[in-house]
Symmetry: C2
Subunit: 588 residues, 2 copies
């Protein structure tokens, strides 16, 4: 009975690496886990803040989900946990519900993670990973950039110490301008200093440390620990100068202890309200996660299994839902750090979970005086690295269609929020693709003299016949372009009364669906009525197999030629045999 | 100033034929108009009944709209007016509103025609006729068949003389079974006799008349007038025997006179409620109309202009809206009759309008005693010719994907009504197309010995290299299949450590969108990291033009070959120059 064993191994990638786990691997994983833990503590608090949730939920979302991923995930380096974009989408989803009771908000966030987890797991079991491909790269890039801008804007309220509402850029900025009179100057000072410090750490600290003779590896780790430095300094300052009494918003008391066991709501009402949000979060989270996992795996010539990744992320989200967390996915920056720090197996994630558990058990009292402005600064500096408007220029120069999709995604995300932005992006990508393929390129071909090659008559000097025309179709034929082809052929024929043969050169036709088949039947019928034969040349094997299953070939007025040159030879003979052909040509 | 003149002529096709109009053409058009008028009088009353509207609205929808189409339409033979499927869709759209006041229902129907008219006209001016192509042929066929069944079922209430509600097959049949106790036996007798008579007229009358020595043309006209015979006989019987007092439902008083001038509602509420219905009616109406217009035009080697057809149908619907009518389009059966009867210009439609106007002015008192069961019989016999389940078998044998789309459209239309049915059909067509193209066919190729041809290594006996693999991609590359390609290539490479070259044979790649470009860049980068060169061969002109506008070709680790044979020759040389190649092969 080896089959069940293979099956089990397929769904439990841990069985691949755990049996071979040794001390060396453990050491590498441990070092990586320590570095990621240091990075993750302030991030998890900050992202919970971004999601509009109490900070401890960020910590809880960084414990059990990592263990689940270590068991079910296939990437050796992916660091799962709260991430910026998914946290923003969580905020938008919960915002839609109009809840005010913090307990209900926490339940809704857990439920969102649960629905998303179930969706991902089901998609994984059904091997539907390919669904994520319907987000085109430019749309993803535009969406991430716009989300970065939205996230940074949403954090300005913590930097200024004012109340701001809204989920779109105009709402957030309008609300900020309206309430700017309430700005708390000390908060603003902390926020701006922390942001400036973190930018400097990111850009200038590592080179500086290296120039003092420090080893690059250590310099890198110290630079990564920058946010911890900002957290420590601003917490101490707030505590020491009693700034909380002067209006500086602080994190306050965070419960100390193990993550609670939580039950997601099973209310059908709440599920139907959260369904679409959960779907979008699942897809965006999966796309982000898989792309970083693939990049990192490829560096070591390893492979990840996208459908199993769905199960890994799905179980992580279910784990988040039952342990007081909220939606998680594989984070880009954090996974790169994990990889660079030497993580060799998903055990690094489990070790990170232990680190965060330690923080949740012991360190929460220490962050009582941590200003929210510092966390906001962490977020702003982190997300601005996601912002890259150069995709607009790149898309413009490559393809106007792709540009339209990116620009619309960015504008709609900024103007109407993340959910509308990403939904519109998907629909626009699909719509524009269909539009493009609905007007296929059709070239009229002639023979390049002295060869057996055929080329576009408008681009090359080629031989043609008066009594026959060859049309090369540069697209698969399906319902959206069938009528275009029909119009094109009938139009071409109506303009030229001398024609007696039409050849469709099908080398680039990868498929003919039933609509296109019916169109070809109709074209054949109409051409026959006006005394014109329809021929095909270079039909591909799979297309031919299918045509043979219909009556089309029986009714075809002309022939099917193996090569376009064969067609040319046959029609040449027919042209000679036809005494009127030259006359008709002369009469034109 | 010829440009404005050309423009005007483009939007007013009447300018093409009216100046050349002569007595002969007028005679042909008049004969056709008389025949169509005789056919249209009972049809227009019956379809109004089907739409849940008073019978006179059917007459009104057959006057001004025909004049508008004669001015703006491009088809010489299309007969515009109320048709079965659009009447059913009108009933569904109005039913959604939950109105009970007949005056409000009439306004809603006019408004629906107006919105649809504006949509069609705007689509025509913007030249968006191609939008209709997103309905695949099998989906249309399935939808028309299911609609025919629904329409026939909806008319059973008039045959049985009972009250029936609902817009789906289970609702209608369930309601019929429930109320069957109320059946009026006289109504049932009239209904069944009329239905049987009309079936016989359709199938048996013409051959019978011809066998008596009548000319086929006259026999045909008499057979077409069959419904008028049924109307006359049953009306006389109902009047003579006083059947209306015995519970036989009759048409009753129909206002006599010119069509009223009506104003569509401009209420934003009503517009937003009717918007989607109007869009679906516009698309279905346009598709039905254009397909019959094209078929008829082709028979005389004429062409219609689909975008101008949108304007023709749009203005017809606006005309219907302002003259007491409801949504209209080009009817299939009626247009064929018009064509067969010899209509040569759209003036035949205008003459028909005069005929119907005459009926509205003078004949309405004569139909007071017309039983609705007779009209229902007319509808049932007309629509059952639309029902053709053979599309299911045809689709099954040709392509399972097309079969899925047809079957879903039929089941959803019958089970959930016309609007859900046709919307689902469109979405399913698009979804299945995307799914198919998201998993492109990729063939590993080798050289057919002694030729310059390359074939699939799994189907043919071909030569291959140990150090190089050629993959032929049988699909355009775009966002939905980019990742599939990436997975495929990286997977192929991971399995074969001897590889140093990957050639992508691109003869069937008609497009590379930006997502696919990024994927190729990524594949190139990853292959380079593992010491493998990526080459392209037979890249098409337009694709190459676009690639040149990106950095891809600069970064490409390998070469771009004009032909696959060139690639083969170059790699063969490299294989010889590489002493390790054979060793690596041997070590495997």
């Amino acid at each position: 009975m080896t089959l069940p064993k293979i099956r089990l191994r397929q769904y439990l990638p841990i069985l691949d690496w755990a049996p071979k786990y040794d001390r060396d691997t453990a050491t590498s994983d441990l070092v990586a886990a320590v570095i990621v833990t240091i990075m993750l503590i302030p991030q998890s608090l900050a992202y919970a803040l971004l999601a509009g949730l109490p900070p401890e939920m960020g910590l809880y979302a960084s414990i059990l989900p990592l263990v689940a991923y270590a068991i079910f995930g296939t990437s050796r380096a992916l660091a799962v946990g709260p991430v910026a974009v998914v946290s923003l989408m969580t905020a938008a989803a919960i915002g839609n519900l109009g809840l005010t009771d913090p307990a209900q908000i926490a339940i809704a966030a857990g439920t969102l993670a649960f629905i998303s987890g179930v969706m991902l797991t089901v998609m994984g079991v059904l091997k539907l990973g390919a669904l994520a491909n319907f987000l085109s790269h430019p749309v993803i890039a535009g969406f991430i950039t716009a989300s970065g801008v939205l996230i940074a804007a949403s954090q300005l309220k913590h930097i200024f110490g004012v109340k701001v509402s809204g989920h779109t850029l105009p709402e957030v900025l309008g609300s900020l301008l309206e309430n700017q009179g309430d700005t708390n100057v000390i908060t603003l000072f902390i926020g701006v200093s922390a942001t400036a410090f973190l930018f400097w750490v990111r850009k200038g600290l590592k080179p500086l440390l290296i120039s003092t003779g420090m080893k690059p590896r250590l310099a890198d780790i110290l630079a990564k620990a920058g946010p911890v430095g900002a957290v420590v300094v601003t917490t101490l300052a707030t505590w020491g100068f009693g700034l909380a009494d002067k209006g500086v918003s602080i994190v306050g008391s965070v419960p100390m202890g193990l993550p609670p066991l939580t039950m997601p709501s099973l209310s059908p009402d709440l599920w139907s309200q959260l369904f679409l949000s959960a779907l979008l979060i699942s897809i965006i989270g999966f796309v982000e996660s898989v792309s970083v996992a693939q990049t990192l795996a490829a560096k070591k010539r390893q492979r990840i299994v996208p459908d199993q990744e769905l199960i890994g992320l799905g179980t992580s989200n279910i784990a988040a839902a039952i342990s007081g967390g909220y939606p998680v996915t594989g984070g880009f920056a954090r996974s790169v750090v994990n990889f660079d720090a030497g993580a060799e197996t998903p055990a690094a994630g489990a070790f990170t979970a232990v680190g965060i558990l330690f923080a949740a058990l012991l360190l929460t009292p220490l962050i009582y005086f941590l200003p929210t402005a510092t966390l906001a600064a962490t977020i702003i500096v982190a997300v601005l690295s996601l912002v890259d408007f150069s995709i607009l220029f790149k898309a413009w120069s490559y393809s106007k269609v792709d540009f339209a999709a990116v620009a619309a995604t960015i504008v709609l995300t900024l103007g109407f929020g993340v959910e509308i932005g990403v939904s519109a992006g998907v629909l626009i990508s699909i719509g524009l693709h269909l539009y493009k393929t609905s007007r296929p390129h059709i070239a009229e071909e002639g023979l390049v003299p002295g060869t057996q090659h055929f080329r576009n008559i408008h681009r090359h000097k080629v031989e043609t016949f008066a009594h026959a025309v060859t049309l090369r179709i540069d697209e698969s034929l399906y319902f959206a372009n069938a009528r275009f082809l029909e119009d094109y052929i009938l139009d071409r024929v109506a303009r030229d009364k001398a024609l007696r043969h039409v050849v469709l050169h099908c080398a680039a036709v990868n498929e003919i669906d039933m609509s296109a088949l019916e169109t070809l039947e109709e074209v054949n019928r109409r051409l026959r009525e006006t005394g014109i034969s329809l021929h095909l040349s270079e039909v591909k094997g799979p297309v031919m197999d299918r045509l043979k299953r219909s009556h089309f070939l029986d009714d075809l007025s002309g022939s099917v030629f193996l090569s376009q040159y064969d067609a040319w030879q046959a029609l040449k003979a027919d042209g000679r045999a036809d005494p009127e052909a030259t006359e008709r040509l002369a009469a034109q």
